[in-house]
Subunit: 324 residues, 6 copies
């Protein structure tokens, strides 16, 4: 089976098929053009430079193309990079399906949808149940294919739905442990909290922010969808239950300086905010630790205040119990 | 003509009709009930204590009642207060109209409406013009009667419309001076920016915050009204012009920690934010300075970082020009 | 069965036995002494004032005494208080056991200990297991009887162990959901993270801070106990496993400005910090909501940035599912 | 007529005369010298690199020289740049006047001075009038030729006087709208507020900070000039009117962390501060928007918290009014 | 010898002569006037209330009067207070000199002046020497009699000069230890740094802030005096030595948010700032510790971020050296 | 005598022996390897690039090697650098002792130890004296050879002990001037405050942080050593004197956000913190000023909030005294 990008050791010869995630034309010190490339497969991304690019090269090697690459795995200022020796577009009979090269959620759509429906079933408050089902239907395709963020956490296809599911599972644990928590409210809020990202972002690949995303933001974008859903479902949008549901979404960034127009003032809104942070931070730390050697620190994670994390020498510490 | 509350000097005998703005039952150190009262007329508010209140007194002297008061103007820890000697409800033939005792905007509704319409006329972009007219009609009565805030600036009947007009006049000056400014956008944003306060607050008198106000907030509340208006007027709510108009309202608090889910990223949104602050701060400073003696400092203004302001000895400094 | 403090309605006559939690001598405006008292039973605390206290009264009504009280449930500036009509010490045959009047964790010590031991059993790394068992044995009595904090969250007898258990249950859910998490490390850290409070605080009742608590603080106090334990157990205190365990405790406040000398740089340390916050905030919100009426806001919670929380009109929202 | 720098499209051949604003000798990776140049004309600045510079080239191509340039307009990491093909100094008969290549205020000095004098005429308080006229005379030439800042806003010749005039016009609108505002004070403060920049900065071109600018700063530098002016004009520098005028200047940065030794405690000082910000921010936004394409965002503006601004697709939105 | 205020124990009868530092008329709950008094002698201040004050009492017991007092030393909410039993103005033959009742610097003026002159002698740079001597002469009386602050540190007669001397002694130690430090500059800056307080404050007793203090502040007030001094002494006020000296004063608060218009950018300015903080904080801590019992914490010190300080059980820890 | 690195002027030919402090392999734009080098001798460090490095070059020119270098002193973007013309390892008979090329404290170990012992002698409290002597003996070699920090202040061999001595000298001045200061406590705290750096850092050269340093930090690391010392010396580690000594160390960073788990709550702890800052800042400023030309500003010092400092034209300002 073909080696992945991160399977190659330092100084090892690289020979395989990879996706051009980014490919940007720049001008070298000698005045000639070169391409600054990010190669991608499901193991991650590594950069490389294609020197002395002809106009034809520039035209061929566009982002989204799959290429056959020969080169060498090197290191540049502590980061891995590929020294390109030979590169060409794939030919008929060779791998060309972009989907094989991008990371996906670790579950497929059908499985995620089935698990999600179990949670929807437990939203026993009628207004919340109807609004959630209405919006899930409306944004179905985007919700199950988009990433949860352009970069940072869950930045892979299906990441939005997977992040939502992870929070729902944590929410279930919390509702089981703290009986006063309003389970239907927590589930409804969790399902909707990031759904506005399907409007804020351009799509599942080569994701950029839309004008609505830049000028309005995903929090308010989904809030307005709830109001519209109420109109279509003939639900009074000033009903207490609707105001509380909207508050769940509006407050879920926790602090106003992070974009929530109100801070959490309902218990379940505070819990949703904390679970959102918990899942996002575990996913970010885990991703970074996967790329670090045992006994070393990860790269600094921008979205966690620039902290780096230590990967212990022995991840699995299941020794024998002492018979004290 | 009858003396106003702030016309009485220290130690002067007070005799007149006043509104009970607040009247709260408390228990004195000797175990008896007393009423902590705020008397109000159009000159402002002064507190007083009604000792040894009987159950009948408590029942009679409710907030919103007009009373005849005899007492003395005293000072308590630097603040004016009334020592109550005699107090009774007004009788037939005496002043009873609450409206005569509360502060109003310095223009009447008709005049404000007429001036506002001149600005609406200059909103030449069709979507903006239709949305503004639709919402002005929808919230007409509240818009022209509500205060602009529960306390702080423009906290008087009609204050919301008057604050809006003041900003529009400043906006006109700015648009006249800086020709690249989009005048229709600035006017449309100015008219709508605080209209959500008609949903956020309970009414023009004894104002409290509604549940929607507490859980959603006036910025998002009016944003949703724009979206609803688009649906009724068959305007595409994803049109660039609509997104920009919504951005004007969403961003007008300037900083996210002040409740704007996005910071201003359109020139006119930044200008609207700065003019909003300018008008609010002038109104707050002027109100405080009116209650200070020449040559002294005002009380500290909470909403201006607790600063106090010096009232110069000579307000009007129009001396003779030197013939240097 | 006897009524609890919070069972009495406004203006209802109070007649029962209560604990004097605090009782402070002060001087009234008339120059006489009075006692500022906090009455306590398992439903909470309410204040009251005992006027014209004689020297004998001062001597009798000490904190920690149980009294028979007759009076009236009143309101003072929005807070409940008791108007004292008659008060005397209890007599033989009447309730005198202080333990009946203080709040306890909702589980008894034996049950908590048993559940905790299940978690200890899963700490399969030998160093961690031995250190945890050693310190649990050493601080056994205090650990199961102290509150988790002087005020704020879990401020009741047994609160420290109960808070620890709640975090362990959340930790189990997280370890079940995220397989890369080092379960033994997370459990060991959770059990030890607040154990230093048994040194920081004076005891389970009338809790104050010790000099060691004020000058060193509970985070460093338990860290030093780990080092001492290593010496007694002949464990190398520079071993990676020990450094990581100590880091779990040192970093658990998350931010240095909250007293952690280092921020979390190990994944499980970050998770422990977030779970600690989650459990503490749920407990604080739940306690406040219990004292608020449905459809109203709680008092502001100091330790949650002064936020208040809305208690919805219907806590239990288990309506019928719509058959859409 | 000759094309300006910003008239050239991407990949278009460049051929014209430009000013060398900056020209810095550096060493390339191949060990040879090159010049890092900023070309300037009245449309703005664009960078370029002159490779393999001989010692003679270094000597010739000094900042402040006008050159004839042949090259190509390219893009480097999102920013425009010039690929230099041929470059030589101008010869007799070709453009050599530096003034033709630098940006100027949109009004000439005479017009600015005349308009300013109208405002001075309305400063009816004698002390303020005399101080303002004295300092205007003293700093006349620098005041009308300096920029308002080294970079950021109004960074062009005459920018200081033009910025002052813009604020005066806004001040007039405010004084017209709010009758309690002390117009002479606001005008006097506006005229003097940034005059210290004539001491803080080295001159109108190739501007650097003087030692006095670095160690004392323009706010205190002009304050001391007011004190000196008082001595020469025999005005008591402890008179209330003088203290208030000095306060206007000292407080005009609004916040102490921005360099004001006192925050505004006089109403007109607060207004001056807000108008100063308003004019500066409009000028910065307008400059950036001029360089952005319709339908795109500007570059981030450092002095506005790094925000970028959206230039709408249609700047001029003067459609037909709907006949609703 | 007469007992001092702080010599009396709790519940001890008080009988002696004291200064009325403050005496404010207030209205009691029963409607009668009372005086809220601060008694002062050289041991400190204690408050007391004079009930049922007649108009004559109000007239007699003015701040600044010396009285004969009989009463009792009590405690009110943790703070000492005097229960007044009898109070009258002093009669001929009894103590009446206010100076005997206020705290003074621990050195007399002559001694301070002599020591200061030694430091002036070492200011060998001619400009600095002449400016310092000129201003010392100009502000001589105020400089040696004013406090260093209205409250907080060195708030006693002569405190300004004494604080200056303490810094000079520290400065000498630093200059002795770090030979590169410019000793004359450090001494000149230390002597002038707070001299503006003689203009900022109203006088040595019953100190208030002047209008110049409020609107300009002591940092800029002394800066202008240096400029004026230069004019009188025919020193070029743009000379580097003068700019650096002015920078010493302008920057001595260290941070702009504490009122320095520039931060320290000269080594000696940074040192002066740190020594100023060091002396002020030691004086504040020492004053608080003097009023605390051994083995307890002081009251919280507002100007030190509200921290309290522990007074160890044994202040003097000069035990025997162990013969290990 | 041989020229030092900083003795060479711009464009002067360099010829001498230097230490390779850092030597990092990188890949040039042309795909070939080069070495990014920092040359060091006792005058400081200067960078240079060794182009077209062969595999043998990479192997030879390791950090820690002494080389003979021929090249030229150039400038790159304002910083000095060496253009390498010829470079080879030293041969027998040429300088090879690394110690001759690294900076040292300006005193030798013996002199520092002797002076330190004088201070230890004055620690008259027995517990403190024994703990200090015990730990000084335990960490003797590292304490006298380590730097005080990896970079920033006192980053040279012996810097830790020298920084400690400088603080002790300042502490002596303070204790002499303020008689209430507890001298033995201040000395004991000063000696121990940074001793944990011997565990936090890897060694005196090529210093990195240890795992204990990263996960625990030097403040807690030395605190634990005090506890261990108590066990060995049979001192009660809960004695007040021990708690206070530990507090001195724990609090010495002053603010919790700088890594102190508690802020100073003992007077001597606050003083130690301020003296630590004072010595560190003087050392950093002095080092930077030594590399700046008279009449210019230093580079920005990261650890002093990025400030730069002005080096006056005349450092030594010992002019003639004016005979005024």
């Amino acid at each position: 089976m073909a080696k992945k990008l991160f399977d190659y050791q330092l100084d090892e010869a690289v020979d395989g098929f990879f996706l051009l995630k980014d490919s940007e034309v720049r001008i070298a010190k000698n005045g000639k053009k070169f391409l600054a490339i990010n190669f991608q497969d499901t193991s991650g991304e590594i950069s490389g430079k294609f020197w002395d690019a002809s106009d034809q090269d520039v035209e061929h090697f566009q982002p989204g193309k799959v290429v056959h690459l020969k080169g060498k795995r090197e290191n540049y200022q502590g980061n891995p990079q590929i020294k390109i020796q030979q590169m060409r577009l794939t030919q008929p009979g060779e791998p060309q399906d972009v989907q094989q090269f991008v990371e996906h959620a670790p579950m497929n759509t059908a499985a995620m949808e089935e698990e999600l429906n179990q949670f929807v079933f437990e939203i026993t408050e009628p207004n919340w149940n109807r609004i959630v089902r209405h919006l899930l239907a409306h944004f179905h395709d985007a919700f199950f294919s988009y990433p949860a963020a352009k970069k940072n956490h869950h930045a892979f296809a299906g990441g939005l739905a997977f992040h939502t599911l992870s929070i729902l599972r944590l929410a279930k644990s919390v509702a089981d442990e703290y009986p006063h928590v309003n389970r239907p409210l927590l589930y409804a809020g969790a399902i909707l909290h990031d759904m506005g990202k399907t409007i804020e972002m351009s799509g599942p690949v080569s994701t950029t922010y839309t004008l609505a995303g830049n000028l309005v933001g995903h929090i308010v974008l989904i809030d307005e969808q709830i109001v519209k859903a109420c109109q279509q479902l003939k639900i009074d949008d000033q009903a207490e239950s609707v105001l509380i549901l909207r508050h769940m979404i509006l407050a879920h960034h926790g602090l106003m300086e992070y974009g929530s127009p109100v801070r959490p003032h309902v218990m379940e809104a505070e819990i949703l905010h904390e679970l959102d942070e918990l899942d996002a931070s575990i996913q970010m730390m885990q991703t970074s630790i996967n790329h670090a050697e045992p006994g070393s620190f990860t790269e600094r994670i921008f979205a966690m205040d620039g902290r780096n994390f230590y990967r212990p020498t022995h991840d699995d510490t299941k020794g024998e119990l002492p018979s004290e």
